[in-house]
Amino acid sequence: MMQKLSENILDKFSMDFLRSQVLKNAYGNNDTVIAARDPRVLLAWYLFFGLVPWFVQDMTFLLGCFVLVMITTLLARVAGLVLLLFGVGVFSQTGYLLLVTWLFGGDASAIMPLLILTLKVATISLASVTVFSGLDPDRLANGLMWYGCPERLSFSISYAYRILPMLMEEFQNVLLSYRLRGNPPAHDTFAGKVRYLAYQVKIIMYAFYPLMLNTAKRSRTTVEALEIRGYRYAATNKEVRRIKLAGLRLTWDDGIFAALSLLWVAATLLLGTLV
């Protein structure tokens, strides 16, 4: 039973799965409420929820923010893998401290600060998850460009998403070469399992070498094609920037989104002073 389960998990957690999750995360949810927002509004929104919680100690306010970003994360229909990473991340940052303190009989004076810290980290992470995986990369790039980020950065973001699936497929094939031709240590005993794990890690590291060379070979064409297609030309041309940003438009819904968030924050602040 246990073996079946572990096999099943490994099965699910294949390169193929990662690839589909990355794509899903980037482009699979472009019809959600969050994805439809103007990227400039979302970035400003993120600036608030990504920064302010650090400087506030008020429990009610933090809880309020946490609930709000949780709702937006749900609205953005973020891919499961990202949420899992979020969970692991928060736990490994501060969550384990909270758990340990509580288990070993720490009292409220010890638990409260840790709880607040965990809440802060969770709120900020969820706000990032909402913005960076709820928006499709191109809209995000355009939003960043509007705020004055260099064209190169915004191009890199959208190009990374274009090339990532290709890289992962290639990596998968290189790994398969190792798997088919390699000879891993037997892993029936515990020591064998450790050796097997070490072997796997080693193979993953080795696999980067062919991956890099293959990518370098591919990019020769990409570099020339970018040159022909006017990439360098656009990077220095103000007019192109204007055309690109012309696609950004504020709608009433953006206003409602901002107003609702504001209202929510105000309400939690009010509640905080009442309690």
Partner: protein, 567 residues
């Protein structure tokens, strides 16, 4: 004055000892459809990069002479200006696509050059290339042929007068290849574009191109109307270019005096009908041996296999639904079908990379589920379509040795040497596989594939992206390998390979086995061929056009059937 004028062009790559282009003179008229042919490394791609200004503006080197494109001297111009006059589609076109959605990519260049109506330009280009209705799709949802059309649309969007394509159909099945050339003809005839293609498939040159340019050692040998050019059989063959099979057959018959000495050689099946009309087919022919029906024990079996891929949105895509298939020991099998029919998926299933959602895959009677992939490697081996992904060491010697070395196979150094010898790689043993030529890379990947002496060898498109001469070489290697490998399965679009090599042919279509048999059973069935979009070699069509009962797959077979006398 022509749309392209080249006067005394010499070009040497940085660091190269010999010039790649050596005193080239060339005039191309507006509205031409020109095929550029020549040996590997004769400077075809270099010549094309000179036309769009990448040379000398982006790739430096020694450049002399004068190149004028649409009245513009390339030396006095820049890449941006020239890009609007000359569109370029690379051989590895998928690396040319940089944006995630179809419309985005098609309009990308227009946006970069600051055209305010860039989206309309993109839409118009997509319509011209037959991709209308796919504007919002993501690029990874497209098939190989559609991706190529998108790369073409990206070039067309800027409204260039000249389009250059480097081996446009090397990776495509005949259906998609026809579509590409159909689009090119439309662009040429309706929109008046001048089109240059680097092309090895002389059948397509005969059908679509107006002129042929032969390059030899960086020099222009000649430029002639397509029909005259293809009739120069001996000269072309000396440059490793193989004229259409119909032309080869006619040439051989003329040599033997069976066709009058002065006849113009036919280049297409239509022309062949008239030229070969006086010939009669020998009636009493020894019937070719049919496939032995008593086959060996089962080597691999799929039972009720269902596979689907996750998709980014919506329902998973089902590739196979309850597929049953058995492969027997000692068989030489070709797996054919159009792009996306499930050929690669079937191979991934057999090596255990993919697990079926339902059903079982078994090798030698043992279900794959109970075998670890590492233990599989002695039973089965897969040679990828893309040989680069098989090179995991920094020399091909290391790559061939790897699997034997880590398993501590006895005498592995000697066995490695023997394999290098067998695949004619001894000289290249220390080179990195990625830096070899296409044919050498392919041979190296075959050597890696057979290193552990697997019972079953799977080859995914072993002749894709190779010119005809290299394809012949690989075919020869495959024939030599018959004695050292027991069961071989090749997935391919290359029907000449299928006809000359395979004993059993499996046709996949829409995830189902629609036909399974000998070449006579598969290609003799006209209705089947039309339905699944497979096309027998041209000489086969020629034979049948002359005599419905003639089944000849190679030029020598055709000759022996229609020659009358000695075979």
């Amino acid at each position: 004055m022509g749309i392209i004028e080249i006067r005394d062009l010499c070009y040497t790559y940085p660091g190269a000892a010999q010039p790649t282009l050596n005193h080239v003179n060339l005039t191309v008229e507006q509205g031409d459809f020109l095929a550029i042919v020549g040996n590997n490394g004769c400077g075809k791609s270099t010549l094309c990069k000179v036309l769009n200004g990448l040379i000398p503006h982006f790739i430096t080197g020694q450049f002399s002479g004068e190149v004028t494109v649409s009245g513009q001297n390339t030396l006095e111009s820049d890449v941006g200006t020239l890009a609007r006059k000359v569109g370029y589609v690379y051989q590895d076109f998928e690396n040319q696509i940089v944006r995630p959605t179809v419309l985005d990519d098609a309009s990308y260049a227009c946006l970069n050059y600051g055209m305010t109506d860039y989206l309309d330009q993109g839409r118009r280009a997509l319509a011209q290339c037959g991709l209308q209705g796919r504007e919002e799709e993501y690029v990874w949802q497209l098939s190989g042929g559609q991706t190529h059309l998108l790369a073409l649309a990206g070039a067309v969007a800027l409204g260039p007068d000249i389009l250059i394509l480097d081996e446009p159909i090397a990776q495509l099945d005949p259906g998609h290849a026809d579509r590409i050339y159909g689009v090119l003809r439309e662009l040429n005839e309706t929109y008046g574009k001048t089109i240059l293609v680097i092309e090895h498939h002389t059948e397509y040159i005969a059908d679509f191109c107006k002129h042929v340019l032969l390059l030899k050692d960086g020099q222009v040998s000649w430029m002639l109307p397509a029909r005259q050019a293809l009739a120069r059989v001996e000269e072309l063959q000396s440059c490793n270019i193989f004229p259409p099979q119909v032309t080869q057959a006619a040439h051989a018959l003329r040599e033997r005096g069976l066709l009058p000495a002065g006849t113009e050689l036919p280049t297409t099946v239509e022309e062949g009908k008239a030229a070969f009309a006086p010939l009669a087919r020998k009636t009493a022919l020894p019937h070719p041996a049919a496939m032995p029906r008593d086959h060996g024990p089962e080597a691999a079996a799929l039972q009720g296999v269902t596979v689907s891929y996750r998709s980014v949105k919506g329902e998973p895509r089902v590739v196979f639904d309850k597929l049953d298939l058995s492969l027997y020991k000692g068989e030489k099998i070709a797996l054919i079908g159009s792009n996306g029919a499930g050929k690669s998926t079937l191979m991934k299933l057999l090596v255990g990379l993919l697990r079926p959602k339902e059903g079982t895959v078994a090798l030698n009677g043992t279900p794959l589920r109970d075998t670890k992939p590492e233990q599989l490697s002695r039973l089965i081996s897969l040679v990828y379509q893309n040989p680069e992904e098989m090179f995991i060491k920094d020399s091909i010697e290391g790559d061939i040795a790897y699997a034997m070395q880590v398993r501590g196979v006895e005498n592995w150094p000697e066995k490695t040497q023997a394999l290098l010898e067998r695949f004619r790689l001894t000289e290249l043993a220390q080179r990195d596989g990625r830096l070899l030529s296409g044919g050498q890379m392919r041979r190296a990947s075959l050597a890696i594939g057979v290193a552990l002496n697997p019972g079953i060898l799977l080859l995914d498109e072993p002749t894709a992206n190779l010119d005809i001469a290299t394809r012949r070489e690989i075919l020869r290697t495959l024939n030599e390998m018959k004695e050292i490998t027991e069961t071989v399965l090749i997935a391919t679009h290359d029907m000449q390979l299928v006809c000359e090599w395979a004993q059993r042919i499996i046709v996949l279509c829409g995830g189902k086995v629609v036909a399974d048999g000998t070449r006579d059973e598969i290609f003799g069935n006209t209705e089947l061929a039309a339905r699944v979009g497979i096309r027998p070699p041209e000489i086969f069509a020629m034979g049948r056009a002359l005599d419905e009962k003639a089944l000849c797959y190679t030029v020598p077979e055709f000759l022996s059937q229609f020659e009358g006398a000695d075979a």
